[in-house]
Symmetry: C2
Subunit: 453 residues, 2 copies
């Protein structure tokens, strides 16, 4: 492994060129106009894997967007690492807030700016390059399988069935994933917990057409007024979610563990400054890291209804809509929560409106033990590259498929993430620092070294 | 006046052709892209008035869109009627709900379908044709002035100053307006009260960019969640508005007057069926007609924020917006209410967000006495054409300029409206029944007859 750093340095421009080729494919999984782009991204991953040294790679069908599977089997009796990543990205709206084209990557201030630069094209691509190095230098001492899916950003609806149907193909000892972050460039961390997710769209219908707000206002329920009241009722003055039974399966984290969590570096002033808010807000009795790490949350992700154009239109609208999500903690079941919300929301709505609740997607939370060999190999790899033992942290994000992997394939996932909070994933001007990209390749390569010692 | 009906019948197609020419001008006053259309509408009205028999008509400038003034002065010592109407229309969104082009009028089931068919091109145009009949047959026994403005749908921001500056030009004895409705085709009514209006846009800013709802959700205030809470707090469980001081100037209507109002025909089953709602909703202790006629109301006319596209995007948005209106009753001052709302809304907002409240427009309420000669002439005119004495009613709508006319010009307005509830004004598929259009021309002509007897 002596020439690893040199190899990365020598191939720097080629690695970026190859990544940019992938990024340029606008693979937005949630928008039907990008259906063909999803297939193109899968084909591109096939090329990437074969070029990196896979014995076999193919685009495989699912009920939804296709995925790419690849492998290099050295010896079936050796351990097998299954690398998981996703080729799909979030929508780019609001487009006008991007400083450059989201699908034409540019390097500025030593960062790659593009949709998917971090999440997850940039991070998944590091695995292909670590694998390439190991294969080229005959240093690979285990089998490697790659599973690159195209529906992560819409909750991986087809992948569980694919896993059920392909258990033999996906047989492995551990799953390796880079789709999370670390605390800071100088504070490496490994995510050991993920929140689950339940996500709905609600539609409130008042009168059958938009009415004149003067002639009808005050006598006919306004669906926006009603929607606001319903949303407002979903959380109480302590920032707790009011859906009956919502917290039933939440396991309270012990005072001891909370004390450990409190040691993780956190600067409230910097945190507030970075997002420009005067005050933080959340569930009473919990710190910011606890609020995102070990407690559920309730967020309206979008809302619309009535007149939203220029000027004033005095209308009592017919419809109002919202996209509503909750983040769940391990042991909460997203399917149970989906039903609890729907029933509660419909029950508390007044008879003066009609309510339709559609569950859009969901996923379970996840916890990774820190005493398994794969976790410890990851720990050593970070220490080798970053000079510090990584901190185990609970992330507020969700990767619904991670808990599905555990359930279906019986495998734990090691979440070796290299994203930073400033990467603006899911937002305009998503970016990924070059240093994290190249350090990531190096760290992943070391993971294989320690894991197969 | 014996040949009045015949004259209308003989000129039926020409009247419609002329009206349609006016309707085809997309004079949406609130949208800057229609600025030139506003001027074209004003030029069109100049043509209409000169063709109908005005001695003089001209397009006059205001601080905003131009207006059209026209007159026929027979003898300065005779009484003068000032006809007021507006050439501007509401926006047409949501366009996809229109069955035909909003600016290409069609006749279907004996109704004219188009934006402005009723409000206010159709109704205002009736006055031009009544005037034409009287001039052509030498039956006009008073002076007539026309004032057609282009900013009614945005709250007539420039007209008060125009009136202040042109008091002599607009000198009259009474104002005649057709911009309201009647109860039903067989139940004529005259509007004797109008609600006032105050209208705001609010902007809630949370973090400086859209955030990942997993990584930040629960720890950072979500501007949509906050906006919903703020809107929800604006009304209480009794349907009353909670802004401190909001009801201070509301005059309670006497039990006697309420008993009179209760005699107006109202069929709750039909009313609910027409707009397809299972239950009506409003301030406790008041009937539907009272809720829209003598009580203020609070309506969110539009709301937007976050992700509103296809599928699920897990985002904690940076911004949320709403367009909020209140209808006011006579004696409430819209300027005072505008300040009360703004102060209250800003005060109750949490420090975790920034709030911006912009007042978009407003207008005072209005009451017309039923014992003045002009009202009585109108009453006789309706009785002549519809066969029944019209019912005096309080409308829930607002025509902000009507109270301004009273204040600046010292004139009462007679609200001779011919619209029907089914006309869908401000909504997709606005329409105006041909019968109301032609009966309106006839009724207005009889008004002049009785007023100058």
């Amino acid at each position: 492994m002596q020439n690893l750093k040199q190899y990365i340095a020598d191939n720097r421009q080629r690695f970026l060129d190859e990544l940019f080729e992938l990024i340029r494919i606008p693979s937005v999984s949630s928008q039907s106009k990008h259906k063909d782009d999803m297939r193109q991204a899968a084909e591109q991953w096939k090329k990437i894997l074969l070029a990196a040294g896979a014995d076999r790679a193919e685009v495989m069908e699912t009920a939804g967007h296709p995925l790419t599977y690849g492998e290099k089997i050295i010896d079936p009796s050796l351990p097998t690492v299954l690398v998981y990543g996703h080729m799909d990205v979030m929508p780019v709206d609001p487009l006008n807030l991007w400083h450059t084209d989201p699908f034409e990557p540019v390097i500025k201030d030593d960062k790659i700016y593009a949709r998917g630069a971090d999440d997850n094209k940039g991070q998944a691509f590091m695995h292909a390059k670590a694998f390439e190095y190991l294969v080229k230098h005959n240093l690979l001492k285990c089998n490697v399988k790659f599973l690159m899916e195209g529906e992560e950003e819409i909750g991986s609806p087809s992948l569980p069935a694919f896993c059920e149907a392909n258990k033999d193909l996906l047989k492995a000892d551990v799953i390796l994933v880079s789709d999370t972050g670390m605390i800071a460039p100088d504070i490496p961390s490994i995510t050991t917990g993920l929140r689950g997710l339940a996500y709905w769209e609600v539609e409130i219908t008042g009168p059958n057409r938009d009415l004149h707000s003067g002639l009808f206002g005050g006598a006919v329920a306004n669906p926006i007024n009603v929607l606001a009241k319903l949303i407002a009722q979903m959380t109480d003055e302590n920032g707790q979610i009011t859906i009956p039974g919502f917290y039933s399966d939440v396991i309270e984290v012990s005072a001891e563990e909370r004390a450990m969590m409190a040691k993780a570096p956190f600067n409230e002033t910097d945190y507030k400054k970075a997002i420009d808010v005067a005050e933080l807000s959340g569930e009473k009795g919990y710190s910011t890291n606890e609020r995102t790490g070990i407690r559920p949350s309730f967020d309206v992700c979008g809302i619309w209804g009535g007149y939203t154009g220029e000027g004033a239109k005095t209308v009592l609208p017919s419809k109002a809509y919202a996209k509503i999500s909750t983040r769940l903690v391990p042991n909460q079941d997203h399917e149970k929560i989906a039903i609890l919300f729907k029933e509660h929301f419909e029950r508390i709505a007044p008879n003066s409106v009609k309510v339709k609740v559609t569950t859009l997607h969901g996923g379970q939370g996840y916890v990774c033990p820190i005493d398994i060999p794969a976790y410890q190999a990851a720990e050593r790899a970070y220490e080798k590259v970053y000079g510090k033992v990584p901190v185990p942290v609970r992330s507020g994000g969700s990767i619904p498929i991670i808990s599905a992997f555990e359930e279906i394939l019986g495998l734990k996932s090691i979440l070796m993430g290299f994203g930073l909070e400033s990467d603006a994933i899911h937002s305009p001007n998503e970016n990924y620092p070059l240093q994290q990209f190249f350090n990531g390749i190096e760290t992943i390569t070391w993971f294989y070294n320690y894991y197969t010692e």
